[in-house]
Structure formats: C-alpha cells, structure tokens
C-alpha cells in the first residue's frame, strides 16, 4: 500500500526520521505537501511506519490548523480574515465565493476544482483584502473582480 501512497523520497525521509524525537509533525508536513492533505489512509500509513497510534496522529492533525483532513481542490483558495482584511471586506469575498460557486469555508466545489480556506494573515496587509489561489496572491480584491479572477483557473 505504501508504495502507491507515498513516494520513495517520502518513505526514505520517514525512515531517516523514524527514531528521532519530534518526528511526527515533520513527517506529517511532508505527507501533506506530497498528498495534499492528511487522508485517513496516509494517517494509517504514518501510524504504521512510525509506530505511533492513530489516536495521537489525529490529535496532532486536528490541533494544528495547518493540517487538512479533507482533500483540497485542484486550486486552493485562501481568503484572509485577519484584522486588516476583515475590516476591508474579506468576509464579502467569502460570501461571494459561496454565491458564485456554492463554495463554503473548508469545503470543495462539486467539480473538485476549488477548495476554500479562511486564513489569518498571509503577510501583505497593505493589499487588504487579500485572497490567494494556488499560491498566487490577489490584493485589494473587490466583489466584482472575483468572477474574472476565478476564470483564470480551470
């Protein structure tokens, strides 16, 4: 099972870190960057490879916002709801995405193209309100710009 789920690179990384303290979060980071999220299968595999109970993995994964339990869309949208972005209308972007795509926070569009995350600050408050799609940053976003921005991703 592990051959299909994790790359050889990842497996050798896990092997290297297997007996080192504090390895779980490191490994989960790598797993998420490779698989895109922490699937139950991935968690089972990490549990087996590191000999860490699934309960512990689930505790860690649900404690840190960084880790995702659901599969992200092809393009992951992050809308900043930090103080500056919120005051400048970050919540309006969220509302608009739901209206346009039926996309709710922490969910996925039916076609699997977009997923949506609400985040706290992406480090460019001067551009508030900010959204990122697949890593690309869009600043000073207004409601009517959104359809045009989304059209760039398919």
């Amino acid at each position: 099972m592990s051959q299909n789920l994790f790359s050889d690179d990842l497996l050798s990384f896990i092997d290297e870190w297997k007996d080192k303290p504090g390895n779980l979060i490191m490994v989960l980071h790598r797993v998420q960057s490779e698989v895109g999220y922490i699937s139950r299968e991935a968690a089972d595999e990490v549990s087996r490879l590191l000999d860490v109970p699934l309960a512990t993995i689930w505790g860690v994964v649900t404690f840190y916002h960084f880790f995702k339990l659901t599969k992200p869309g092809k393009y992951n949208i992050q809308v900043c709801l930090g103080t500056a972005c919120y005051l400048k209308g970050g919540d309006i972007i969220v509302e608009e995405l739901e209206k346009l795509k039926g996309l709710k926070v922490d969910s996925l569009t039916e076609d699997g193209l977009f997923s949506l995350q609400a985040v706290r600050c992406v480090g460019c408050c001067g551009l508030a309100p900010v959204m990122t799609i697949g890593g690309e940053v869009f600043g000073k976003v207004s409601k009517d710009q959104i359809p045009g921005i989304l059209d760039k991703f398919s």
Partner: protein
C-alpha cells in the same frame, strides 16, 4: 527523606517527591480537584487545586507542585474561594445541568463541588454543544456533551492501559474527547475495559445500563432465570450500601438476586474452578508435549481484545479455555439444564460481573453459543446490580444470607481469588502441583505470586519434578514489555523463559474492574484484595480439583479435562481482530 512544610499553618512532614496536594491531605485538608486522580500523573487541566505560597506572587497547582523544605502553603482563603467558584461556574457554562437524568447524579464529582462551593446561579452565558452519544460498543457509552475535558479518560486509555482508543481532538473551545480518528468507539482499538468510565468524574462515560432488561426478563413467567456472580463482585458490591471495601457480602447478594426474580443463583467461582481444571490440564499438556509456551491466561476479555488486536502472533500462546463466566453459562444450559430436566431454550442466563468488557464477550463469536443458545444472555456490572437493588427497595444491609444453588454453585478458595492480580496463577499452581506430582500442597498460599508489582515474575518448584516459571501482569499498559519479550523470542525461533503468564487488563485485577463501584484507588484495591484472600482462607476447600461439585461434573458429564465434550463447551479459539475496524 522527609520534607517539612506548613499547609494552612499546620506543620506536616512528607516524603520528598510528594506533591503539595498529597501534603495537604496528610495535614487533613482537602483541596478540591477534578482532573487529578491518584492512578494518574498530574494533568493540571482543571485548575481547581490552585494554592498560594507565602512569599511568592505565583499561584501554584497543588497536584503538580512538588513539596520543598519550608514551604508555607495557603490552600483556602477568600480569594482562592472566589477563583475556584469562577472555575466551576465556567465549567457549568459548557456543561449540561441535566443532573436529575444523569447516570452520575449523586455520584458526580463536579456536582459535589458545585454543592460545596454553593453554585446557585449561572453568571456566564451557557454554550452547551449537543453532541451525539456513542453507544457503538454495547458496553460503554460516550456522552461527549457532558465532557469537562479533564483528560482522565485519555490518560487512562493511553498511559494506564496503553490502548490509545481515546484522544482529544481539536483545540481550545472545540476540543473534544473522541475515539481515535473520530471513529465510532467500537471501530477504535477500545478493549471495553471500562477504566475510562470508572475514572470519569462526571457522566461523560458510563456503562450501558441494562438493569431494566434484567428486571423485564426476570418477570417473564416462562423464563427460568439463572444468575451467576463473579468473584470480584462479592468484595465490592457492599460499598454501594455502606459496607467497607473488601467486606464480603456473598450471601446477601445471593438473597438479593432471588428477590429480584432469579430462579436459581449460581456462582461464577464454580466456573473458575472448572477453568482451572481445563487451563491447568492444558498447561501440563503443553509442558509435557512441548507445546507452545508460555501459555497465556484467557479469562480477561479486555486482555483478549487487546492481544487479538495488537499481538495476533501470540494468539497461539493463549489458553483455549473459556473464561469462568462463559464456562458457567455453557454448563448452565447443558449439564445443569439436563440434570434438572429444564429446556435450555427457557433458561435465561445472567452474569453479574465487575467488568464492562464482559458485556461484549458474550457476543464474541459462535463459541459463545456452544450450548446451542446464547450461553450467557445478559451481563450486568456491579454498579447496575446495585442500581436495581435500590430500585426494588431492598434494604441490602439488612438482608439475610443464603447459599448458592447446587450443584454448580459450590466453589473452592482458589476460585474466589480469580478476581485479584496473581489469583488465577495461584489457583492454577495449586492444581498443577497436584496434576504433576500427584500430591497435595501442604500450604496452598503461594505467596511468591501475590503482591501489587505491575510485572511480577519468578519460578516455583513443583515437588522437584518441574519448575514453573511464571509472570503476572496487571494494567494493560504494563503488558507491553513482556509481550514484546515473548514476541522477540518467537521471532528468533526461541521461547521466552516462562511457562505460564497471567494478564489482567485492569490495575489490581477484576476487583478494580471497569464495572465496579466508583472511587477505586490503590487503597480500595488493597482492601478488596484482602477480602478475596479472606474468602479463600476461610474456604474448607482451597483447590479447584478438590471441589466435590467439580469432580461430580466430570464424573457425570464431561468425563475428564480436555475431553471432547469439554473442548466443545469449555474451550474456544481466537481470531486476529483489526486494530481499527474502519
């Protein structure tokens, strides 16, 4: 070394390494706690045990602060009272105040503290989450809405038991006590030992209450209700009615069961004697015929659940003998029913157990229906029995004593210590000695296997003819080291240096099982243990193979231990169980 300090001005000397909380107890001062439990390491989540230290502005947690020479501790003043009251009010703002309908009403630690601190109003906005109950195991119910996140259950499940079925998920306000990977509890590694339930300070984890089922079935006229009671019940049930831990109330329990509608009252101790005959003979056979050794005991369903999940490679080491309860059930519906000329289809077989896992054991597999019917139809824990005794208005303390029904109610001293860690080992040694040497022990007290060490081992010389190297473990989390040793030896084609190993999932054995009266700690364990040894000591017959009813059962029905009939009714087999079912 002793450390001297004052608690509220009272001088006290305690061992170095003690906590301020323990020092306060010694000074006769009780500091309120919710997350602290003497079985567990300090967790420090509730904050109720906060105290002040003279000369320091820092507030300390008594449970997690080690004593130091010359400390002057203030445990109670008006400010601490106010802070503790606020903590309780904050807990109550997220805890449903449904005390009247709660299983823990009158036994809830939070409720007691709210009474003590005079919580009359709710100054904070209440935010109570409606979370679904988890009844998936048919033994233990999780009600996360009532959880106060003290962390006891998680610590019990992970540190004490090494099972890792429970964990906290989420963070902050949305933290939730939850089975692994948010699975239903039954799909998690849970072994149903129920230690989470006995350690929960509130009503968030409890036994599935089936007392009503018993009363309903007992009232049905066409049923012949046959009840058995486990060894550990007799040293603990009394606690629910004002008796001290360890006080034997066997005769009163028999009477109470008859008043509750039991037509026949038997004793699981008879089944325990039968278990020793079968398991002891199996051990002797394995030793003589170079079979798979060490032989591991199989009475504890929590342990069986654990080993079939975590150490399936050791299944071949498990004794094939059923637990005393399952033997007793099978015997009731075959040998006894036949002898009494009663249609086994009409027999309703009930077991009173100190254990929540026993509720699931009766449905484990087809071997639990060896009589052609469910060998045991219903299991009630000690706590559930206490509840229906109260419901029936029975003044337990005033009950006259009575005897169990023969012929499957008579028991030896060896059987009654089954509920104590080391008890099965001792009982087995008493009979194995006879099986190997043909002689009787001059002193049946085998002191080398007794005690409360978490892993005890040694060797017993059997009349110069054999050496029995034994291991005894209690508390599931303590078994790992020994099981890893057996596994490692096996992988090298060798075998670990033991012949017989007894493992019980609960700390102290069944006397401190997950279905026993609440408030169990090491002091209570020790008293219940003494009660069991007292029952053994006063027994006329101390060894299972000397029990006349056992001898008769073999003469009349089973032939001899390990016979074909015995194999069919008194033995079982085990299958590997996935750690996570989904």
């Amino acid at each position: 070394m002793l450390v001297h300090l004052t608690i509220q001005g009272i001088e006290v000397a305690v061992e170095q390494g003690s906590t301020v909380l323990e020092a306060a107890l010694k000074a006769g001062i009780r500091v309120p706690t919710l997350c602290y439990h003497p079985d567990l390491k300090p967790f420090g989540s509730c904050g109720l045990c906060i105290c002040k230290q003279e000369g320091s502005a820092k507030i300390i947690r008594a449970c997690a602060t080690p004593v130091a020479e010359g400390m002057r501790i203030i445990t109670h003043d008006n400010e601490l009272y106010e802070v503790r009251k606020t903590i309780l009010e904050l807990i109550m703002s997220t805890h449903p105040a449904s005390c009247l309908t709660c299983v823990r009403n009158n036994k809830c630690e939070l409720q007691k503290l709210c009474v003590e601190y005079g919580i009359r109003e709710q100054p904070f906005e209440t935010r109570i989450k409606e979370l679904p109950k988890d009844k998936s195991t048919k033994a233990i119910v999780l009600d996360p809405s009532k959880c106060i996140k003290c962390g006891r259950c998680v610590q019990v499940c992970q540190s004490l038991q090494g099972v890792y079925a429970l964990e906290f998920i989420g963070r902050g306000d949305s933290t939730q006590m939850c089975p692994a990977a948010a699975l239903p509890l039954n799909d998690s590694p849970c072994i149903k030992c129920g230690q989470c339930a006995t350690h929960c300070p509130v009503g968030a984890i409890y036994e599935l209450d089936e007392g009503g089922v018993f009363l309903h079935e007992a009232a049905a006229s066409e049923k012949v209700v046959a009840v058995q009671i486990a060894p550990a019940v007799r040293v603990a049930l009394g606690e629910e009615f004002g008796f001290k831990p360890g006080e034997l109330t066997t005769g009163k329990i028999y009477t109470a069961l008859r008043r509750l509608g039991a037509d026949y009252v038997f004793d699981t101790n008879f089944g325990a004697d039968m278990t020793i005959m079968e398991e002891g003979s199996e051990l002797v056979k394995r030793v003589k015929e170079n079979g798979v050794l060490p032989q591991l005991t199989s009475c504890c369903p929590g342990w069986i659940d654990y080993v079939t999940k975590y150490y399936p490679d050791l299944i071949e080491n498990l004794s094939s003998a059923k637990s005393p309860m399952m033997m007793q059930g099978a015997i009731t519906k075959t040998y006894w029913a036949e002898k009494m000329n009663i249609d086994p289809a009409k027999v309703y077989s009930v077991a009173i157990m100190p254990c929540t896992a026993k509720k699931t054991e009766i449905h484990r597999d087809e071997h639990m229906r060896s009589s052609g019917y469910d060998d045991v139809d219903l299991v009630l824990t000690t706590r559930e029995l206490a509840r229906i005794i109260r419901q029936y208005g029975i003044d337990f303390a005033a009950l006259p004593e009575s005897e169990a029904d023969s012929p499957i109610g008579e028991y030896s001293g060896a059987a009654t210590i089954f509920g104590v860690t080391g008890g099965v080992m001792e009982a087995a040694v008493r009979t194995a000695y006879n099986l190997i040497s043909g002689k009787e022990l001059s002193d049946p007290d085998i002191m080398t296997v007794r005690g409360n060490g978490e892993f005890r081992h040694g060797a017993i010389d059997v009349d110069g003819k054999a050496t029995l190297r034994f291991g005894v473990v209690h508390g599931m989390g303590n078994a790992k080291q020994l099981l890893d040793e057996i596994r490692a030896a096996k992988q090298k084609g060798e075998r670990a240096p033991y012949e017989f190993i007894e493992i019980m999932a609960c700390r102290g054995g069944c006397i401190a099982g997950g279905g026993q009266p609440l408030g169990t700690d090491d002091e209570v364990r020790s008293k219940r243990t003494s009660g069991s040894y007292t029952d053994d000591k006063k027994a006329k017959i101390r060894c299972s193979h000397q029990n006349p009813s056992v001898i008769k059962a073999y003469e009349e029905f089973f032939g001899q231990p390990l016979s074909e009939k015995a194999h069919h009714l008194l033995h079982t087999e085990y299958k590997e169980v996935p750690v996570y079912k989904n």
